[in-house]
Symmetry: C4
Subunit: 342 residues, 4 copies
């Protein structure tokens, strides 16, 4: 396993992380989750990512159980959670303050997460999406408060705009507080603009580290939809969660998704030439970006974990020539503007 | 129920709050208090306001019991208390430091309040009136201290002058500390100057949020004194508390109060035209002011709670034309001075 | 009892305080101590002063027992202790860090004091004399640390020079920390320079409050040595503590002490004219100084406590004419220099 | 015993300290360790130094046992530990964050050390070597965090460059935090540059205090290798630890070591003239440097402890003439550059 510094911090994370989105605590049975986490840990993964919003908190519960089950030492793990939606995606009735990034919810939300995880602290706590109703100063102060209380070591953001991240640093600098160390954006061969263009200046200026999610773009880059059909028996075919439903609908109608599958088919040729799977190509390609500290992967079977981890070894196969070939297939390299005028 | 941000903070409070002034823990029996709080909670109210001074601390005791009785989740509630008179309204003998806003009383007073409430923290802690004997720096530091200790999320003021609030912010800014987020003034159709004129600049400059008390001006705006008599069997007729006594005396002699009752009678016509009660008109009129985050209402019966909460639905009936009509009746719209000279 | 603000703080202290120097926990039997403290409390005294150095810590032990014995509420008391000599007056061997104002001793010393007192916090913690070996920044930070930890509400100094106090404020201001609120100097009719001259600018500039000790100048101003003899059976006649020994030796040889006794005899005439005791005159004279927040008195009998407390009522008898008469007797009014040159 | 202030702090350390490098908890049996520590304590030593890395944490365990065994009062001891390698010298697999100076490892490492020591706090915590992968701001903040949490009184560095120490102060000053108070470098008659030249400006500028290690240069300055052989039965002859192995290899081949032994033989003449042992000469020579607060000595037998402690008494024998004679033998006095150009 390769380990990288999380941005300009002293923390080291495995370049492959394991995330609990939709899966852990949700529709995958608990033992399968344990198996995936154990496979990952044994393969050298130290970074496990969850959120208060995943499976209504169940993802945290199962992750905590797994850590105790295998007796992993706390200092050998980097555990993260994210705060913004505590058990409620829409802000309704008395759940008003169970969402968002008010001081109240950051403190109460993290306390509840730690209770579900059975931990005294997480290593990383993220603001799960921006909250434009709460002033930046309140957000920055509240994350510093939980760090001062020993409930987290670092705080960061997820899917914030570059301007919001820079503003958080501006507030932190003014008050002598700690700014956001890391961001968790979507990043993969099909979605690149934010990481490669919007955040461009933040890496050097604020030492921003990235832990990215959706490396396979909801499975598309694994090639499993390459014959333009939803595989029978797959999660997507049967799941009733709103994300899966929306994806199913998109499947037949959405022109963009058809293009993405077509692109994926072309990438398959490259993967075959290198003797690796499409998923491995997709993950290895992300690892090649030195601004990425960890690629958060999902998995419902230990074999998937191992396939993903293998990608680290294959990263060297993505020579400049191969990278060039990939660029020609995906045709989505963001163009940086050297100057702005008008 | 409508929920509003508390000034420029990320906290959301129900636009109708329930307060424990004189009533809860005092002359109303405990079960009635529970019924009122439950009616409010079930109607969507999340904001419950008390103070160390209310009924000598009994208001906090009963509020705490009610929360445990119904098992309400802590994150679904916004609980506030106020510090300035801990069991003693006049500063006498050994009670010297049980009043005021010294660091000693803010810390000891809040600890005692939390003990009575049976809570680890309140959401909001107010300075219950200014204390001009204690330096502003000591007050600002002490409220920040209890926030740092996790005993409150936000601090604010009650019936401070605009200059005092601005001075608190000046001190907080100089020291990099948190300033007062909210103020709790009296505000109703008969008392408007402070909220509409004195505080005018504070809303945009410091993001001040308001939770207002006395929406019915001690019952006058409910219309119950409209025949210029104290109703038999009412609290006012029998209560021996100093406020009720003073009010009883005022009743027959005070010219201002007679005018207020006359005004109220005129407002009754407007309420009837809209098909709502006088109380609802009075509360809906406050809600129309976007600088008000929550109107703290009192109640001794669940029906009153429901009547008050209904006001939220009727706020739309107060069209610009109706508002204009009301202005002509109350004739007390504060005039802002655009410039000052000499 | 009269209560005064402690300098420019919001804390109120009784203008008469009771101190535990030499006596409490030391040679006076425990029950007598309890009686004195109870007499003081019942007379309205809220301020009780001790130090880690008094009777090797026993003074704190007995004071704590007394508080529990009578069940006095914590918020009705202002308890102070002083840190600098934890069980050792000279810094020897392993006791190196049991003296002084290092961060180690301020924290460990105060923890030990709280343990002996049986309290969670004191109201006031003093630096008992300056420590010129420890940098001012370390001292200021350490006292702020114990305040942040909730172990004291205010910190101050005892017998520091004006320059040292001003330097502490300079450091505190630079770091945004809390400076020393009060000083505890010797002050009486025979020793005036520090309070009336050296500290002159500190009252307005830093809001310095004073709690003074030795109001009777080790008993001289009580008139008990007026026939130039040590009374038989008195503490001074028999005590083996180093202070008493030094005083005994001084008694017959020291020219200054003879002059002080002669002055005291002249003051006796004034006291008789006013119909009060010499001790009461001496204490009332201190109270007349508005910069003094509290006069810390000593006592080995409840009657002494009452005699001292009575002085408060007699302060009005010290009219401008009487004050002028006293000035002529003591002839020690410090002269302020309006300008300094050369 | 002589006690010195630790740099520009108020803490006093015995000029002879006892360290647990390699020995305590390692190959020396536990009882011998207890005997050495007791001999040192009884001779006035108050400063005991260990590190999370010594004997894989066992050094801390045994030191903690010894403190409890003899019931030494916490305030009579100055205990230090060092953080950088928690059970792992090389950063491998899941031990990634068990080394270095990330916020995670400083907090987790110190907590683990306190657990092994059985103490609530250490007096001193050192950054055991620099960590150039972690930003200085993170390091400075994390050490201040553990000080704020009451887990240490002072923080310092070990074998950092002058530039790194100055940079830590620059960051601390900017953020209003506490900078490193002390450094722990190697310092002895054979290795002088860092202490006498590189750190030259830090003593006055930042008040840097030194606790030095290796006073006998791994035993060379004790004279035990003076016949150019490894004594049979010695630790060096048999030990399998990597340091001993490397030293054994060096022994026959390394030109520098041969020179050092030759120098040592010449120093022996001086020691004999003064009637003291070579070790005592070496330690006394360090004590003569006023920038050294404490010389950390090692020992595997109580007699060695006593021999080392005796050096304090002999320091006066190192008159200017003797010091001059020593300079001529060692011929390694660092030359300070008054100005730099080009």
């Amino acid at each position: 396993m390769e380990y990288r510094l999380l941005g300009r911090s002293g923390l080291k994370v495995s370049v492959i992380g394991l995330g609990g989105w939709l899966t852990y605590g949700g529709h995958v049975e608990k033992q399968k989750t344990f198996d995936c986490m154990k496979a990952a840990f044994d393969a050298g993964v130290n970074f496990f990512d969850t959120a208060e919003a995943y499976a209504g908190g169940e993802s945290e519960v199962v992750m905590g159980e797994c850590i105790r089950k295998y007796g992993w030492a706390r200092n050998e793990l980097v555990i993260s959670t994210k705060i913004n939606w505590g058990g409620a995606f829409a802000s309704q009735g008395h759940a008003q303050n169970s969402v968002g990034l008010s001081r109240k919810h950051i403190v109460e939300g993290l306390n509840a997460s730690l209770g579900r995880l059975g931990l005294d602290y997480v290593d990383l706590v993220y603001a799960h999406r921006p909250d434009r109703l709460t002033p930046m100063e309140e957000i920055v102060r509240a994350f510093n408060h939980v760090i001062d209380q020993g409930k987290a070591f670092y705080w960061g953001t997820s899917e914030w705009s570059a301007e919001e991240i820079a503003d958080a640093w501006r507030v932190a600098d003014r008050l002598g507080l700690i700014g956001p160390v890391m961001e968790q954006p979507q990043y993969n061969l099909l979605v690149r603009d934010r990481v490669e263009k919007e955040y461009y200046n933040l890496y050097a200026k604020h030492g921003l580290g990235l832990t990215t999610f959706s490396p396979l773009k909801m499975g598309i880059l694994s090639g499993k939809y390459n014959d333009f059909k939803i595989p029978e028996g797959s999660r997507l075919a049967s799941s009733s969660d709103p994300f899966s439903k929306a994806l199913r609908e998109k499947f037949n109608t959405d022109e963009e998704m058809k293009n993405q599958i077509a692109t994926t088919k072309n990438l398959e040729t490259v993967a075959k030439e290198l003797g690796i799977t499409l998923s491995q190509l997709a993950i290895a390609w992300i690892i090649k970006n030195p601004n990425i500290s960890s690629v958060i992967t999902g998995a419902s079977k230990p074999e998937q974990v191992l396939e993903n981890v293998e990608a680290v070894k294959h990263a060297d196969k993505l020579t400049p020539e191969v990278m060039e070939k990939i660029e020609k297939i995906v045709e989505n390299k963001p163009q940086l503007e050297a100057r702005r005028f008008g």
